[in-house]
């Protein structure tokens, strides 16, 4: 060995000592660092949700606010599916914050609401933000361009066949440029079109034929005065705004006389559904004379104050050569997503939003001004409120139109509802569909009548339909007598004086009214109401009922025998209208009353029978 000492110098010993020491120290340091790891892991495993949540290492005995705990026990849901964050993590910053390998930090309030929406489906989900957002998605017609699960294609945009027969090109040009200037409460979004594009669209629309207009009867003359009366008696204002007052189911008629051709108005009134198969307007049964009177009245009265249409500046001849260009533009803009042409809706041209919730806000573009949005719902909200917000310099401008009448809160609700759409579905056992079950209407004669008179535009059944009538038709068959229904359908009297919306006079025939009344009574019953024979009460019971009626304060709302108020329905002659079983039951079960206006009034069965006997014994008012 000694002979080779030159080769085995002290330097080697030093090197050995140093490297060995370095290894020992570094490994020792690693062990010390590792000792900071929790010795015992507390975790909730929810395999169905893929959750491994170690939140309870720090958060002991997590408690939700009242009501949520019972329905959402951590054993069943874990933590992160609702709250976000990284369940695997055992350190606070890794659990709460965004990192290279974890893109879903703790949820913001909007993201939490969106998480609720993953299980709670439907526009009536008990999550206010999400429910509002879903309602808005339907109301704003978002599904015209985007495929959105649970949101139906919009059906409120007018068909555009034969538009040239209805309005002037100037009106269409002005409307396309800025619908808000012509109608404050418009639903069509603004497409930021230039005049050339508008001209091309008009040229195309003017090339689309529509159903032939009914000829104005030559032997009749319209009378504006009679027309005005007809508009009032037919109760057009239930759906249309007339002189600033009325409903908003149909368009405001303020400028209808200026906007629409008289022959078109006449055709719409006498042959509504041939001209506009998808309109929400019922098929009134109007005599040609009455229709002509209304058209005449419209032409005389529904005009601009100045006498000149506000779209006068836009009037110019149509340039038919641009129709081809316009047709392409019509398709590119996705107009046919909402407006039917030749009975057909077009494709949804924009990206499907069925997995929007999977997007991470970090992947999405910043605004043109460089602002980064904090979470996905706010990103979507910004996009919905200002579609051009994320346009990049030199990039293609956004195609999405600007939606009218959307507040910041509305936009955030839309963003929240959309953020709840994730590609990976949660287990079916956790899902709750809050949408009403599908409505099956009868086919045949009854179905055609329901369709012709558009009953469900104002009335609802099983959660489907409009709420103009306020009181759902569910259980109507248990409430109302068939004979009364037949009369009412033919000539609707006003039952509730406090309600501005009144059933229009549709002009049903006796046979039609019988058919619908039979269906209402047969199909829309109520299990809670017994079928009772008309009561034949003793005079003693009647006077007991009369006393109770007064004591309970019924006249505060109801008019009977010349006393009381008109807040509720008038009760004189109600034996003809109401079924005895219903009257008895509602007095003892206030929840039975539509719109629950009897809340707080709950009688014993014996009291209820007495009051019912009194009320149903009230004589009908004498015809004057």
């Amino acid at each position: 060995m000694s002979s080779n000492s030159a080769l085995q110098s002290d330097r080697l010993h030093w090197a050995f000592a140093l490297t060995a020491l370095a290894c020992a120290l570094l490994f020792g340091y690693a062990v010390v660092v590792d000792a900071g790891r929790p010795a015992q892991v507390q975790q909730r495993l929810v395999p169905a949700l893929g959750a491994v949540d170690r939140c309870e290492l720090c958060h002991e005995n997590p408690k939700h606010h009242a009501g949520l705990d019972d329905a959402h026990p951590p054993e069943r849901f874990g933590c992160t599916v609702c709250h976000g964050g990284q369940g695997f993590a055992t350190r606070k910053e890794a659990a709460h914050l965004v990192s290279m390998d974890w893109e879903r930090p703790l949820f913001s309030p909007a993201e939490q609401a969106a998480a609720c929406g993953r299980c709670h489906l439907g526009a009536q989900a008990p999550v206010p933000q999400v429910a509002k957002g879903r309602q808005l998605l339907a109301d704003k017609g978002c599904a015209g361009c985007h495929a959105i699960p649970g949101v139906p294609r919009p059906d409120f945009a007018p068909e555009l066949d034969g538009l040239r027969d209805a309005v002037s090109p100037g009106f269409v040009r002005a409307w396309l440029a800025d619908p808000g200037k012509l109608q404050a409460s418009h639903r069509m979004p603004t497409f930021r079109l230039n005049s050339e594009e508008i001209e091309a669209l008009v040229a195309y629309l003017w090339s689309v034929p529509g159903p032939a207009l009914a000829p104005l009867p030559a032997d009749l003359t319209g009378d504006g005065e009679r027309g005005k009366k007809a508009v009032a008696t037919r109760r057009c204002a239930t759906c249309h705004k007339i002189d600033g007052r009325g409903g908003d189911v149909g368009p405001d008629l303020a400028l209808a006389g200026m906007k629409l051709q008289p022959a078109w108005i006449f055709t719409l009134l006498v042959d509504t559904h041939r001209l506009r198969p998808h309109t929400r307007m019922p098929g009134f049964r109007l005599a040609p004379q009455e229709a002509l009177d209304i058209a005449t009245y419209a032409g005389e009265e529904w005009l601009a104050d100045s006498g000149e249409p506000p779209w006068k500046a836009y009037e110019a001849p149509v340039e038919p050569t641009k129709a081809v260009q316009g047709k392409k533009l019509f398709a590119d803009l996705g107009c046919a997503g909402c407006h039917r042409v030749a009975g057909q809706l077009g494709a949804q041209i924009a990206p499907a939003l069925d997995r929007l919730g999977d997007r991470h806000v970090v992947d999405l573009p910043h605004t043109a001004t460089g602002e980064a949005l904090p979470d996905l719902p706010s990103w979507v909200a910004r996009k919905v409120q200002l579609p051009t917000a994320f346009d990049q310099k030199g990039g293609a401008p956004a195609r999405m139109p600007t939606l009218p009448g959307l507040t910041a809160a509305d936009a955030l609700a839309v963003g929240t509802a959309l953020a709840s759409l994730r590609a990976v579905p949660l287990p079916a056992t956790l899902l709750r569909d809050h949408d009403p079950p599908e409505l099956r209407l009868p086919a045949g004669q009854t179905g055609r009548l329901i369709d012709r008179f558009r009953c469900l535009v104002c009335h609802s059944i099983g959660g489907h339909g409009g709420d103009v009538a306020r009181i759902a038709l569910d259980g109507a068959g248990a409430r109302l007598n068939r004979a009364w229904l037949e009369d009412f359908l033919q000539s609707p009297v006003t039952v509730r004086m406090d309600q501005a919306e009144r059933m229009p006079i549709l002009g049903m025939t006796a046979a039609e009214a019988q058919q619908l009344a039979a269906w209402l009574q047969g199909a829309l019953g109520d299990d809670r109401v017994p079928l009772a024979e008309p009561a034949t009460a003793s005079a003693e019971a009647m006077s007991h009922g009369a006393n109770l009626y007064a004591q309970l304060g019924c006249p505060t709302c109801h008019m009977a025998a010349g006393a009381g108020t008109m807040k509720g329905p008038t009760l004189d002659g109600s034996a003809r209208r109401l079924q005895p079983g219903y009257v008895q039951t509602l007095l003892s079960q206030p929840a039975l009353v539509p719109a629950n206006r009897h809340a707080g009034i709950q009688l014993s069965a014996e009291q209820a029978a007495a009051v019912a006997a009194y009320v149903l014994g009230l004589p009908a008012p004498q015809a004057p």
Partner: protein, 383 residues
């Protein structure tokens, strides 16, 4: 008692601690592990310039990778539903899990680099000539196995980085004419990276490739020993045969001690890296979310850069020709001039060509790694 213990010690270590040159030689010859070295070696071989310790460090890294890999296998589950989660468990729950994963990751990258460096050195000193022809080819095979091990291991964390790097890598394989698609299907077990690919890569990474690697390493070292150890210049002291032979020094302790120090130093550096440099992890693999750009592992980015110009010429032909050329090299370049010298006069053209090849590989790799952004567009600022 002491005698009894000494008996046990003697039964294992039969020679005893060498006391003189004779027992040192005997120790080298009688030990399975140590007889991988000749009992006496040329003193020139001990110098750093003789080996750069690149081969040794490659072997040390292979052993470290085996050790850390076995520990990781205790926890790893090769299934898409679970693989990424085990990364999370390693990070948050497993004792020394982060350290082990980091060490495994950095050792793997280092091994690709060291094996390449080793090959470069052997080329420069003409270590593929004469009796060493076949061993050079075995070395090329080991280089290829190292890349294959690294590539198969790259998929296992099942994060976005892994998923898309392997998708890109396997797509490059699909550019092979005629059999490319079948070849990709063979390695992936499917048309795209998924459950089958993960299982295949796992088995290859943990069983098949390491087994082959260590068999070839055995052959490689055996041949080095039989061919006279490191290639040393004829002009160096002890470089010639015959009369200079008496200047040899015993491998024990001169070589063995140095090797131990190098192994310890490599371990210390690896520990330091593993402590202070986190192995990357991205969100869980999501086949519906393609990163832009999707990049292969760094050592394939030169090829990906070439494949960007032409899938066949750049992605298949050039790499295949390079590997084939490396294998044929010892049978084409056979003259014995300048052996053992780094920059001999006689090999200027050969060294220049090789230098150009290295430069080409380095430049394409650097461009592919640092200067390619979304859409594989050239970025003037490193990404």
């Amino acid at each position: 008692m002491g005698k009894w213990l000494q008996g046990i010690w003697k039964s294992v270590w039969r020679i005893g601690w060498p006391q003189d040159e004779r027992s040192a030689v005997k120790a080298m010859l009688s030990s399975l592990v140590l007889h991988v070295h000749a009992p006496k070696i040329r003193p020139e071989s001990l110098k750093f310039r003789a080996s750069w310790a690149a081969g040794l460090i490659s072997l040390v890294l292979a052993l470290q990778l085996t050790a850390t890999g076995i520990y990781l296998m205790f926890y790893y589950i090769p299934h898409p539903d679970a693989a990424w989660r085990t990364m999370k468990d390693l990070a948050f729950v497993v004792p020394l899990g982060t350290l082990t994963r980091n060490a495994h990751r950095w050792a793997a990258h280092a091994m690709v680099a060291m094996v390449t460096l080793h090959m470069v050195r052997v080329y420069l000193v003409s270590g593929y000539k004469g009796a060493r022809q076949a061993n050079w080819v075995a070395g090329v095979g080991l280089w290829f196995l190292t890349l294959a091990l690294s590539f198969t291991g790259y998929l296992l964390p099942w994060d976005q980085l892994a998923y898309w790097a392997v998708t890109v890598g396997s797509n490059m394989a699909a550019a092979v004419p005629f059999v490319g698609d079948d070849f990709r299907q063979l390695i992936l077990g499917d048309r795209s990276v998924g459950e089958s690919a993960l299982l295949r890569f796992y088995v290859l990474h943990c069983v098949a490739l390491p087994a082959i690697l260590f068999l070839v390493v055995g052959f490689h070292l055996f041949r080095v020993r039989k061919d006279g150890g490191l290639v040393v210049s004829e002009n160096a002291p002890g470089g010639g045969r015959g009369e200079e032979g008496h200047k040899l020094v015993p491998a024990w302790p001169h070589l063995v001690y140095r090797e131990l120090i190098v192994a310890l130093a490599a371990t210390a550096v690896l520990l330091a890296l593993a402590l202070w440099l986190q192995a990357p992890l991205e969100p869980e693999a999501d086949p519906s979310r393609t990163p832009n750009p999707a990049k292969a592992p760094w050592y394939f980015l030169g090829v990906q850069e070439l494949a960007h110009y032409s899938a066949f010429w750049g992605g298949v032909f050039v790499p295949a020709a390079t590997v084939l050329g490396l294998c044929l090299l010892p049978y084409m370049d056979t003259h014995a001039l300048g052996v053992g010298q780094y920059l001999p006069k006689e090999r200027r053209i050969a060294q220049a060509l090789f230098g150009l090849l290295l430069l080409f590989m380095a430049v394409t790799t650097v461009i592919g790694t640092l200067f390619r952004g979304p859409g594989w567009a050239l970025m003037w600022w490193p990404q």
